[in-house]
Symmetry: C2
Subunit: 315 residues, 2 copies
């Protein structure tokens, strides 16, 4: 176990879920943005709480552990550990804007359980940590899903082959530059989920699984062109993109300046694009800005790369 | 161009389409059974045919090139070549039983166009040859599909990421032993296709594409356990397997003796199982025989391996 009362620092990356054709199964972590957290293990006061959440940002998120995504993830972890005399103190500095669609809730949940595991001397496996952190996602969106949690904890590109039982597979990937734009509108995950149709055409499903197989093969072969051709979604994107202003124009413009492809990050509203070269990723950012400036729509952009480390701890 | 009037020998492997979770996109070639063909280039007689088909087996398949799968594939090839003074003579010795579900029509179509390409000095790419051979599949089943043609021509495991435009991707795979049982019943491809539902549940589609991504990753990583876990089909198999006597019992028995997994080969009636070790593949064969002997149902079995070469030519 880590010495008591000493703070560790945690860096929890943003993540892009779905990766266009891999709805609910694929995701990857990025180097920017990320959440900063601090955490320490203290002796639990008699009748004291075993989890204390301290927000040091301005988002005014709940500090009741059951209502807080990091808290809910820690509650799940504590249930599988003899924690009767201990307490976690967690300071959260949220740099990933909640609701942006780049795994803000996943970063807090994943950061908390990776930090807790470190403080306890690493009793839990990564699969355990993903399982605990999914409880944070349930607080955030009502659904236990792992497509942001898995890449946040593992780093790189991950495949959630199965959710029950949980099976996460790390997929090798070549160097990829990522451009993200976050238009400052609200798209609730629950809304983005409720507009999906419960049934899909078999012929569309076949097209989709051809693309998923192509994307996995492209990533593992380091074949950029194959990655680009496979970044196509005939099922979810045509429906969800109506919630995102200018989506089709933006995607077209980004591909015209050389992006391999991209689409909605998670359930949006952020949009991501992948590029082979950094210069292309910067040109893509310019196109994104041009389009949202044209709309007079406030937005943030990021030019970054795939994060291979996942949640990182420093003392 | 190859010297006129000289026969070449062609060996065209059987193939297993779909590979459980990869309906219409995945397939692999096996070393046994295979079709034998001979082919030569001759000067076309005035007003003579440009394709002459000679069956040297007992299946009594049509010899009119437009009605013959090899003939239809060659017609497509000839349309893209200056063939005004030439003719192909093709002898076909079908060792892969038509209707067995292991790519009998694909072997004839693919063998014919690979042989033709060799005789003409290889003017066409493999993608061209797949495209031509798909015309044979159209004669056989009414649908231009490439999931048997692609592995027959390329060898190994192939992914048809897209059919229009055609894109075939060779997937590396570890050594795999294959056991096939062909119960002597007739399942028409058209029937096996017509019973499929045109719509699938989104949640089933998600499960399916998790498995496809897992299977591609498992093949490329050489991870046998992952391959085994991913060989699951929640969409097609539950429907099609009702056409195949004893399917569920047979699959269960094969997995109990160590098969990684398996399922219906193409649209059936053959069933295939993959194993890591040859001894397991032999034990699987015994289970298959036991079950169909119990039913008093005539059947053939094959214990073989994945064929990496595709169609082979010898002079």
């Amino acid at each position: 176990m880590f010495p008591m009362n000493q703070w560790i620092k945690i860096k929890a990356p943003a993540t892009v879920a779905n990766m266009v054709c891999g709805f609910d199964i694929l995701g990857f972590a990025v180097n920017d943005p990320y959440d900063e957290m601090e955490m320490r293990l203290v002796e639990r006061a008699p009748n004291g709480a075993n989890i204390v959440i301290i927000n040091i940002d301005d988002y005014n998120l709940p500090t009741d552990p059951e209502q807080n995504v990091a808290g809910a993830a820690l509650i799940a972890l504590i249930e599988e550990y003899d924690f009767s005399k201990l307490a976690f103190e967690v300071k959260i500095n949220k740099l990933i804007k909640p609701g942006s669609g780049v795994g803000s809730s996943a970063a807090s949940s994943a950061g908390a359980v990776v930090g807790a595991n470190y403080l306890l001397g690493n009793p839990f496996s990564k699969d355990d940590l993903v399982r605990f952190a999914m409880n944070g996602e349930k607080v955030a969106s009502g659904v236990k899903h792992a497509d942001n949690i898995a890449p946040c904890i593992h780093g790189g590109v991950t495949l959630v082959r199965s959710i029950f039982p949980l099976e996460v597979i790390a997929l090798p990937s070549p160097q990829l530059h990522v451009t993200i734009v976050h238009p400052q509108i609200e798209v609730k995950t629950a809304d983005a989920r409720s507009i999906l149709r419960q049934n899909v055409k078999l012929k569309d499903a076949i097209k989709q699984w051809g693309n998923i197989a192509g994307l996995v093969a492209g990533l593992m072969k380091g074949d950029y062109d194959l990655i680009g051709r496979s970044l196509e979604d005939v099922i979810i994107e045509p429906i969800r993109s109506i919630l995102i202003p200018g989506f089709d124009d933006l995607k077209k413009a980004c591909k015209e300046v050389g992006a391999l492809g991209g689409g909605i990050s998670g359930s949006g509203p952020s949009i991501f694009m992948l590029s082979k070269e950094k210069e292309t990723a910067i040109a893509v950012e310019q196109e994104m800005k041009k389009i949202y400036e044209g709309f007079g729509l406030a937005h943030h952009t990021y030019v970054t790369t795939i994060n291979q480390a996942g949640v990182e701890i420093s003392e």
